[in-house]
């Protein structure tokens, strides 16, 4: 047979795994959705859990209020997991679970649900995200302090390498770093440093001869922005560094084990609320970043929907994104060629540039004692990068089409429907779920659960024992997500991650100088400095926006009280009352604003601070915004309000007005 030409593959590659990040409400409704998605040609599952499940609270916990079934499915015990996967053959399915603090628990539930189907654990394929450092840095669904969290990760890796060999126990995420504002260099460097921290921790817990397979099971979850050439170079650079790391630091001999394997969800940060239909093009270009060059192509892809900046996507929106993947894989000739960038001077140059910067940054993190020790440094660096990004958008140096340029538009028919173009989760779900978990607790063998949790507590206290067997036993006995996590919280303690806002440098712009003067003027008239509380109620950990507001308000001369994420309405109200703030700003991106904002207002009244004006920011559909304003919220900001100085002006004039002062800068 003649040699095939070097510019063609002998036969086309198999497409990557196609998934849709999906799940909402309860296990039954999500199971229906999964079956429909699989029918449409999706080849793997990607489970979105709700925030209580991700942070380890049962649906009836105080902190779960307003969040149950919102950004994903609520899973409280093995019964839920069995319903969720009902009729989906787990010996064939490849399931990715976006789960971190409670990853060991959800993996245990998955194993138990498979047992129920008669599938042994060594047949299971899939991924648990299980990356805690990026939760501290960006996403916020952590539960335990760094030390015990790293132990849980190491334990799940050690367990799966032996018992669930086809499982990817951790998906180290660069994705959320980019969402938090990381530059490509930071994204590469922080992710690789994170991987080193994980591998160093596992090294203590598995025999050296298994390190090759451990290294081979580590996968990545990356992001791709719209600068798709550079983004592709970023992935090639990561592949080079990963190979190097395996060879040099961990002595991994098998080349296959050193290959960078990654899944991807492309960028959400760059998706706009203004003219949201344009997001479809952005998503398509971003998909090219992770597929164009064969040497650094994604193993699995899930694409966001066009309307993510508006609210939760509907099944139809997700179908539209899946079709994009299918067109790319099945209609175009993408999969017929070897790597199309091989020998490209431009690509090689870009990769070299990124490698150099990333190595330098990795060195800095190593000098600080590694990624766990350097969380404060990395967090502050991300907040600072994000601040610079916003400043470029505000100044017009960075163009966002439809948002800060080319803004004149026809009304979009896509958002004209009765639902506003988004999915609204039935508010009755929460009550249903509360009742269901109570019923579950009443009907199970309580003595067995107590014994399993006691055994778990004992294991947690003994650092040398692997947490997985006791966790699986607790899952089998019928323990709940909240009980598993609470047992570990008692053993490990709780944790608040750094907010990173203290270190960000002050922005300098003429526009801001004017705002600053006005803050001085109003502060003088008030007698003390204008004091502003920025609060994040609920379990939503997406704090990037709130952090930018806090930093900008500080730069404008305000005293800003910012306490980080995951606060109850009564904590926020107590802070507002005790701190004597002039205004409160709340940020919610999880869709729970309808429940949480009225709860904060009520708590403010109870704490004697009912007269303090409240503004709200987040992913808030217009219909909800109107009713919030009716309920007394002074202003509602959404992603289309990208001008932070403008927001500062509004806040100043709001305070001035409430105190009978005149402001010169107000709208």
């Amino acid at each position: 047979m003649p040699e095939p030409p070097s510019h063609r593959l002998p036969e086309p590659d198999r497409p990557w795994m196609m998934r849709t990040y999906a799940g909402h409400s309860d296990a039954r409704r999500s199971n229906e959705l999964y079956r429909k998605n699989l029918e449409k040609g999706q080849t793997g599952l990607s489970i979105a859990f709700d925030l209580p499940t991700q942070t380890g609270y049962d649906p009836d916990h105080e902190l779960a209020k307003g969040e149950v079934g919102k950004v994903g499915v609520s899973i409280a015990h093995k019964g839920d997991m069995e319903t969720l996967l009902d009729g989906i053959p787990l010996d064939q399915m490849n399931t990715s679970m976006t789960i971190n603090a409670t990853a060991a628990w959800l993996l245990a539930l998955y194993i138990v649900a498979a047992e129920d189907q008669g599938v042994p654990e060594d047949k299971l394929q899939g991924t648990t995200q299980n990356d805690i450092l990026k939760e501290y840095l960006s996403r916020g669904t952590y539960a335990f302090p760094p030390g015990p969290s790293m132990r849980l990760i190491a334990d799940t890796i050690a367990y799966t390498v032996e018992h669930v060999p086809k499982w990817n126990p951790i998906n180290i995420c660069s994705y959320h770093l980019q969402e938090a504002g990381a530059t490509p260099i930071q994204e590469i460097a922080f992710t690789m440093s994170n991987a080193i921290a994980v591998l160093d921790a596992v090294k203590q817990r598995v025999p050296q001869e298994l390190m090759g397979s451990v290294f081979g099971r580590i996968s990545f979850f990356v992001n791709a922005g719209v600068r798709f050439i550079e983004e592709h170079a970023k992935l090639r650079a990561m592949a080079i560094l990963w190979d190097e790391l395996g060879r040099e630091r961990y002595g991994v001999e098998d080349e296959k084990h050193r290959r960078l394997r990654y899944g991807v969800q492309v960028n959400s940060l760059g998706l706009t609320e203004a003219q949201p239909e344009n997001n479809v093009y952005r998503i398509a270009l971003e998909a090219l970043a992770v597929t164009l060059g064969r040497n650094a192509r994604a193993r699995a892809i899930q694409l966001p929907a066009w309307n993510e900046a508006l609210g939760l996507p509907r099944p139809w929106d997700q179908q539209w994104s899946l079709r994009l993947q299918q067109i790319l894989a099945y209609e175009t000739d993408l999969l017929e060629y070897p790597d199309i960038f091989e020998g490209s001077k431009v690509m090689d140059g870009l990769v070299e540039e990124l490698l150099e910067g990333a190595r330098e940054e990795m060195h800095r993190v190593a000098e600080l004692g590694g990624a766990v020790e350097a969380v404060d440094y990395m967090k502050a660096a991300l907040v600072e990068s994000h601040r610079q990004r916003w400043q470029r958008i505000e100044s017009g140096d960075q163009i966002a089409v439809g948002m800060n340029k080319f803004t004149s538009t026809e009304p979009s028919p896509l958002t004209a429907g009765a639902d506003g173009g988004i999915l609204v989760v039935d508010p009755e779900i929460e009550a249903e779920r509360r009742a269901a978990v109570e019923e579950w607790r009443a009907e199970r063998d309580q003595a067995a659960v107590d014994a399993a949790l006691a055994r778990l507590a004992e294991t947690a206290r003994n650092d040398h024992e692997n947490i997985m067997p006791a966790t699986i036993a607790a899952a089998r006995a019928g323990a709940t997500t909240g009980e598993w996590t609470q047992t570990l919280r008692e053993a490990f303690g709780e944790y608040r991650a750094p907010t990173g806002v203290g270190e960000a440098v002050a922005a300098a712009s003429e526009d801001l100088a004017e705002v600053r003067e006005e803050v001085e003027r109003i502060s003088e008239a008030l007698g003390r400095r204008l004091k502003f509380l920025v609060g994040k109620p609920g379990l939503d950990g997406h704090s990037n926006g709130a952090e930018q507001i806090a930093v900008r308000a500080r730069d404008a001369g305000m005293d800003v009280v910012y306490e980080g994420i995951r606060l109850t309405p009564s904590q926020i109200a107590t802070s507002a009352a005790q701190e004597g703030v002039h205004v409160v700003g709340l940020s919610i991106l999880s869709g729970s604003h309808r429940e949480l904002i009225p709860a904060v207002m009520e708590a403010l009244r109870e704490a004697g601070a009912g007269d303090v004006p409240v503004v709200v920011g987040g992913i808030i559909p217009e219909a909800d915004a109107a009713s919030l304003r009716e309920a007394g919220i002074a202003a509602v900001y959404t992603p289309k309000d990208w001008n932070l100085n403008g927001m500062m002006r509004d806040i100043i004039s709001l305070v001035a007005e409430r105190h009978g002062l005149q402001s010169a800068v107000g709208a």
Binding site: L526, G527, R554, D559, Y562, G564, Q578
Partner: protein, 325 residues
């Protein structure tokens, strides 16, 4: 100039604090922090209401200064201490002085989040304030706030960050000063030995769950205190990670210090220093000269009514300077 609408009634707020109405704390601090001219008068009225003259003695609350370098675990320690005090039925106010330097006049205050309390417990009050002009420096309003809150709360904590200058300054505002250290805070040991830092009333060593390192640190501390002739200084070893240890012992050591203290004398001297410092801020070198210099002024203050509040002493200083000039 533009003016804010209503200024709170200082006398009324002072009375409420005297009656141990904890819900008055926030409004009282709003007033004390205010620099508006009509607010200053109301703040003076408030402080007069809680002065020893009005109370018939020193305010009964225990003002505790807690200070130490960043990262030694002050907030975790405070979480445990506050819980301990609450379990004894004592009300607690915490004035958290945030170290983040002011930039462009603004500041970020986030420390309160690190102190873990029940938000519905109205007998715990936390207020964050930006530091004074220097790192770790106390703003004049913080001292006045502590004095006022001591009339209503059983314990008032002033939490600051820093080593060297700050505990001297906090000693002027607090009845009892606790310096918090962690194992391997070698620099602090050096400061102590070199006399850069005064020996505090209570030394707290955190993170004793670290084992051998902590034991070693304890031995070093005791040796240093012995060399300084301060072997009677309490050293408390605590661990704030579950299960917490040493917290009750620390609370006891703080109480013991206060019991052995000539409280009226310490408070009186503090008020005089505050008055003189506030006067110097307001009237500068020229004002001090008019009083015949700092030492003369201190002497003169020693002869004044010991039970006056700081603003009253300040006013007396102004009058005195006028009569001399």
């Amino acid at each position: 100039m533009i003016r804010a609408r209503a200024v709170a009634d200082g006398r009324e707020l002072g009375r409420r604090l005297r009656d141990r109405d904890l819900t008055a704390a926030s409004a009282a601090l709003n007033l004390i922090e205010s620099r508006a001219p009509d607010a200053l008068a109301q703040a003076a009225a408030l402080l007069a209401e809680v002065s020893p003259a009005s109370l018939g003695g020193e305010a009964s609350g225990h003002i505790v200064g807690v200070t130490g370098p960043p990262g030694v675990g002050k907030s975790s320690l405070l979480s445990r201490l506050v819980a301990h005090w609450r379990s004894q039925g004592r009300s607690v106010a915490v004035l958290a002085v945030d170290p983040s330097s002011r930039r462009s006049g603004g500041s970020l205050l986030g420390d309160r989040a690190r102190i873990d309390t029940d938000p519905k417990d109205r007998a715990v009050f936390i207020r964050s304030t930006a530091a004074g002009s220097r790192l770790g420096g106390l703003a004049p309003a913080t001292r006045a706030a502590a004095e006022a809150l001591a009339a209503a709360f059983d314990v008032v904590v002033i939490e600051t960050v820093g080593v060297g200058q700050s505990e001297t300054e906090i000693a002027d505002a607090a009845d009892t000063v606790a310096v918090v250290l962690q194992p391997a805070s070698g620099d602090v040991l050096q400061f102590l030995k070199a006399g850069i830092m005064e020996v505090p009333d209570v030394l707290v060593l955190t993170k004793t769950d670290l084992g051998a390192v902590a034991t070693r640190a304890m031995v070093d501390l005791r040796a240093a205190l012995l060399a300084l002739g301060a072997s009677s200084t309490e050293v408390c070893a605590v661990s704030s990670v579950p299960p917490a240890t040493g917290i009750a012992e620390l609370a006891q050591a703080l109480d013991a210090h206060r019991a052995a203290l000539d409280l009226p004398d310490r408070r009186r001297r503090a008020r005089r220093r505050h008055a003189l410092e506030n006067f110097a801020i307001e009237h500068g070198e020229r004002g001090l000269r008019a009083l015949g210099g700092r030492v003369q002024a201190e002497r003169w203050l020693n002869d004044q009514d010991p039970d006056l509040a700081v603003p009253e002493l300040e006013r007396a200083l102004v009058d005195h300077a006028g009569s001399l000039g």
